[in-house]
Each structure stands twice: as C-alpha cells, then as structure tokens.
Symmetry: C2
Subunit: 396 residues, 2 copies
C-alpha cells in the first residue's frame, strides 16, 4: 500500500490551495452598526481633532485662573454656555460663565471651576478654591489630532473600535468581505433534517454541521446543498456553488465504494483524492473548479467535522482576523489506544485541567461528539497513551 | 456630601432589576441553520436509535464470522447492498454481500470483512483473514438509544450540538429568545454618525458603542435612538423603547447640569439616580417603565462603555449562556495614581503578562480606549499603585 499522506502534508496542500483565494477577498463598505466583528480593510482616520473643540470636563463655571487666584472670591455670572452652544462665546475678564460637561469652553476662559467648589451668592457665585490654568478643560485634539489613525487596518472591529470610528465622524467602514463558503453534502441514503426516514436512510448532518463550523470560523455560508449519488445532480450543485463561493466544501463521495459521486465528478477535473493518515479521516481530496478551491471531506459526520476543524478552521479564522485556536498540553485522564500509522483526533472533555476521552474512536458517534469540547491529538507513531501522560488537546 | 454608592452596591441593584426580566424571556423555534450560538430552552431528544439501523463501518463484504473462520477462504458474492438500500436484504449462509460504508448490514450477517482484507477471484472473493463477530458493524443505537437527550437544555449551541440535533431528525430547536436591548442616546450637542459638525457639536458614539456591546454580549439591539435634550422627544423615544425591549439603556442626561433630560423624565416615574463611586462613571440611574428595566448610563462615551461592561455585560452574557469574562491578576507595567474614594477602571493593554495603562483617566479619550484591551480595576481606597504591583484586570 502506498504511504498515506500525513495530516501536516494535507494541511499544507489545502493551505496552498485555499489561502490565496481567501487573501484575495475584496472589501466592502458597511455601516458602523453592521461592522461588529468584521475586519477593517483600511485604517479609519479622523479628519478633524478629537475632541473637535475645547470643552468642559465638569459641570461648573468657565473662568480665568487669574481671576480665581485669590479665592474665595465672588464673581458675576454672565449666563450659561449650554452643551449645544452653536456659536463661540466670549468670557469677559472678571466674570464667570456657567458651563455643562462637554460644552465649549468660551474664548477667554482657561479653566473650569467645578460646581462643587462654588456657592451661589447675591450678585454672583463664590469660588471657594483656586483652580489651576487648564484645570478641567479638555483641549481640542487631546484624544487624537487630525490625520490620526483611530482604527488600524486589519483590526477585528470590537465595540470600542466602532466607538472611535463614530467619534471620528465616520458612518461606514471598509471591511474585508467575509469568506463565502458553500457546503455540498452528498449521499443517496441521506435525507434533509427532519424528513421521515425509510430503512437505510439517515438524516443529513454535514450540511448543518459544516456550514455552522464555517460561520463560527467567521465565514458566511452562502449555499448548503444535498445531492443524491447522481453525478449530474452533483455537477449542477457544484457549478452553482463555484459561482457564488470563495470555497466549496464537499462531504462524502470520495471513498473506495462504487457510488462515489464527488470522486467521479472531480477526478476528471484534476482533483487530488487520497487517503490521509488520520482517524477519523480516511480519503479526502482537493480540487479547483473555475478557479474556486474545493475541499473534499469524508461523508461521515464526525470525520467531516474533525477534518474541517483540523484543516479549514485555522485558514478561515486567520482570514477574518480571529485569533488561532491553540492546542494545549494536559494530562490524559484515562488510557487510550490508537491505530499505529494514523494520527488520531479522539473526542474528549476537558475537566479540572485533564482531558477525558469520550465516546470511543467510532466516527458514527455524533451524539458523543456533541458532549465533547476538545480533540485529543494522538501522533501517528503512538499506539498507546497511559493515564497521566501529557497529550496535546485542540479545543473545539 | 452623602456617601456615594459603591460599584458593587449599584451592580447588585441593577442585577436585581434586570435579572428577573432576562430570566423571563420566552423561547422560540428556529431552524438548525439559524440556531448557532443560541441557547437551547429545551433538551433535544432523539425519538429513534442513532444510528437508526445496523450499518457497515467499512467498505467491504457483509459476512458470517462462522463462514470466514477458516480464512483464507473463497466465498460467492451475491450482489451489493448500496448505502441507499431501501429494503431489508438477507445474507445466505456461506455467501457474501458487498457493502459500502454506512449501508445496512443485511440480516444474517454478523461482521464486515474490509475490502482491504480480500482479493477478487473467479467465482467469488477470497477472504484473507478471519474476522470477529461484530467487527466493523455499528449497531443501531450504539451512539444513542431512543429517548436519549442528545443536547441538554441550556446548552449554548455549537456546531457539534446542531450536528447531534440533525442526526436526531430534528429540523428546528427551541431556543431562548435573545434579550432585546434598546439604546437611547441623548444630548442636544450630539449628531448622528457621519453628519457634519457645527461648533459645539460632537458625533454620537453611544448609540453604536452600547448597541454593539449589547450584541457582543449576546443580545439583540432592537432600537437605537438619539434624541436632543427635549423631554417630550425623550419621553416618546422611551415609550417606543419599552414597547419592544427587555432592557432599555440610556446614555447621558443624568448628571447635575441644567439640561438633564433623562433625569427630568425618569425621576417623576420613580427613577433612582445617584452618584456612583467610580471613575469613569459619575451619576447613573435605574428605573422601571411599564415593567421594563431602564439602566441610565453617563453620557460620556468612555464612562458609558465602561459602565456597560462592568454592570450589564455580566448579566447579558449569563442570560444567553456565554461564559463570564473573568478578571485576571497581573503586574502593572507603569505606576498609576487613582482618585481616593472612587473605584477606577483605567484602560490598559495586556502585553507579555503585564498590563500597561493607556491614555490616562480622561473619559473623553475614546480613541485611546480603542487601543486598549482591558480595564485595570483600582479599588476605591487605593490612590497609588507602583510598577510591578499586582492589579486586577478585566478583559474588554
């Protein structure tokens, strides 16, 4: 038997195929309210200073520091500068102007006397304490000068970045388009979720699982299709998919059976389908159809989900600026066996800093996988790991 | 001056007001494709066994272990059981039936001989090795028996949970409705994002920032409004908000100035507005309008965002099943001063296991906050923290 391709070799092949396409995604303008979690494709720059004008940090009185140097002192109040002041106001020497937080500091004033440090009196306001020049005054541009990058390009936009963009007077931001993923599930025995089952039929799991894995990794699921084992039907679905997607993910139809529709359609188009030395995993493939990368996963839902997680999740997350999900080392809570020559990704549950295998290696154990939160990564050459030995664990 | 309310006291007050409303949210049915990240309100139960029928784990030949005990042995092949077999098939003693992965194991067969352990010959197939009874057969119900809870109630639905629900034949799941949050920004000087600024005007930041903080915490932003400092306009917006939201968040209008529209409208309705011993923070309030909790945050965008993060983020995340964002202890990279009597939440950047204060305490420093990724929590009674001292840090 020919040497099977390793996980790392196949991962490199998929990265070489998919990476350039994901990197080519154009940008689009979206309103701030729709930009949460998107990745800025251009820096957001403020054209004016922030704050845009010199303003009061406290409710109180705009004053000259020279006039309140000999506090306590009573000064006349000439009126109020509301926060919405639409025109410049001038403070006369020896006077005060009442001012609310955020309102423009009038010309001539150089400090704000907080209202708590004053007392109302006949003929004006008593300033109880001296105030330094500049006190409680926010200068224009003290947060950002004109031309400042308030959100760098490639930032994954959190609420605080949208806040800075809004402050800069921006209503829309340029973000990278989300990767568009199409999922093509196959299988004559497979029926849509919720449909009644005849003998020998099962419900489609891959359509929902792979599209939601794609969405969780920051992509957009633009098409989810299920075709029976009919080459013409699959070919049609494939053409629809490559017309709308940056990446097509197929499930099933690539093993050694007699009804392997994905292999039948894609191999004439130059697909590379081969056995990967992993469990769950088995035969997998890659192709390029009309310039769109196609990644062919096994049909078994556990195999497909694990393969997506191992091969595609890192690429999608990187493309949308999500942090990588890093493997963690921890002790194994219960000994396990593993097939030699295959890298096993066994489902596990992390608890109190150790990982417990759950459900066994069977790739039909979909419910068991739902109860797992991690994959235990057992290297190819290892066939047994003892309780307490350190293993590498990939969070789901 | 009256003692200011502490952060913990105010947090408890908000939790008591908001918690019961969030807990009362009804559930809704959503298709699996729309359920990612939602919280199951009921368990998902499989009515049938999973897998639904006994099926082959490998491509190969259905056989009786007794017939292949004396391998190598050549046996006749009676045909093929495709994966989509629509009727029960019976294996004759001393014969084989070809079978694909996932296809029903025919009655009479008790093991699968993998195709790799066979060779085609005239008159049949040579089985090269003995195979144990049950080998490569997945029994019906071996993943889950009828009645099994495949997704427990209160699970935040990840792709693997949707996979298990799909396998169980479910097309829709019952999830808790997302908390509906309305954001009412106020301020006569405040104009919508992107609008041109006259002197004394600033762009609204709170509408975008607070609604996206709500969405990030798992809520739905059902209404974002901006009203000038006009009590009638605010009253109208408030009535619209309480008609559609589980929680109304206001920004601004609660301090001691002369144009404090939120206070003016809500205090006659029994609002509690008081000074909180925090920086940024200042006066904040709570109210209940037609049974809907209203949380009044300061108008300053940094104060509002920090207050949302401290008071509302934990409640929303808990309500939608998101894990809490836990504070972390780490050394401070540069000494800081803090006002005594106020709990300060200074913006910081975590780098190499230490936290660096950024931008100073000014609550107008919106751009500086965009560059931060954490809040440094300085207790009320502390007025100085030295370089290298351990501080508590709340990730943003």
């Amino acid at each position: 038997m020919a040497r099977r391709r390793t996980v790392d070799e196949h991962a490199a092949r998929i990265a070489a195929l998919v990476g350039p396409t994901l990197a080519r995604r154009e940008s689009e303008q979206v309103p701030l309210a729709a930009a949460l979690g998107r990745v800025a494709s251009e820096p957001v720059v403020t054209s004016g200073p922030l704050p845009p004008f010199r303003n009061a940090q406290m409710d109180g009185y705009a004053a000259r520091a020279d006039d309140v140097r000999r506090a306590p002192v009573v000064l006349p109040v000439d009126g109020v500068v509301p926060a919405a002041a639409s025109e410049g106001t001038v403070l006369q020497p020896g006077h005060l102007l009442k001012v609310m937080t955020g309102a423009p500091v009038p010309d001539g004033a150089d400090c704000i006397v907080p209202v708590e440090q004053t007392a109302e009196e006949d003929g004006g306001v008593r300033v109880l304490r001296t105030v330094e020049r500049g006190a409680f005054v926010r200068d224009a541009g003290s947060d950002a000068l004109p031309g400042t990058v308030v959100v760098p390009a490639h930032t994954r936009l959190a609420p605080r970045h949208l806040a800075a963009a809004a402050a800069a007077g921006v209503a829309e931001v340029a973000v990278r388009r989300r990767p568009r993923v199409a999922v093509l599930a196959t299988g004559a025995e497979v029926v849509p979720p919720g449909a009644p089952l005849a003998l020998g039929q099962i419900h489609d799991v891959n359509g929902v699982a792979l599209s939601s894995l794609a969405v969780e990794a920051g992509a957009e699921a633009v098409l989810v299709d299920l075709t029976p084992d009919d080459p013409a039907a699959f070919e049609q679905a494939l053409q629809r998919a490559v017309a709308v997607a940056d990446l097509v993910v197929t499930a099933g139809g690539v093993s050694k059976g007699d009804f392997e529709v994905v292999r039948q359609v894609l191999e004439p188009l130059g697909a590379d389908v081969t056995e990967i030395a992993m469990q769950p995993g088995g035969p997998q493939g890659t192709a390029s159809v009309r310039g769109v990368p196609v990644v062919c996963l096994p049909g078994n839902p556990v195999s497909a989900a694990v393969s997506f997680t191992v091969f595609l999740r890192p690429l999608l997350r990187a493309a949308v600026g999500l942090p990588p999900v890093l493997p963690q080392s921890m002790p194994l809570a219960a000994a396990l066996h593993s097939p030699k020559g295959k890298r096993q990704w066994l489902r596990g549950v992390v608890k109190d800093g150790t990982v417990h295998p759950v459900g066994g290696p069977g790739s039909h154990l979909i419910v068991a996988m739902a109860g797992a939160d991690a994959l235990i990564d057992v290297p190819e050459e290892v066939d047994f790991v003892a309780t307490g030995d350190t293993v590498s664990v990939l969070p789901l």
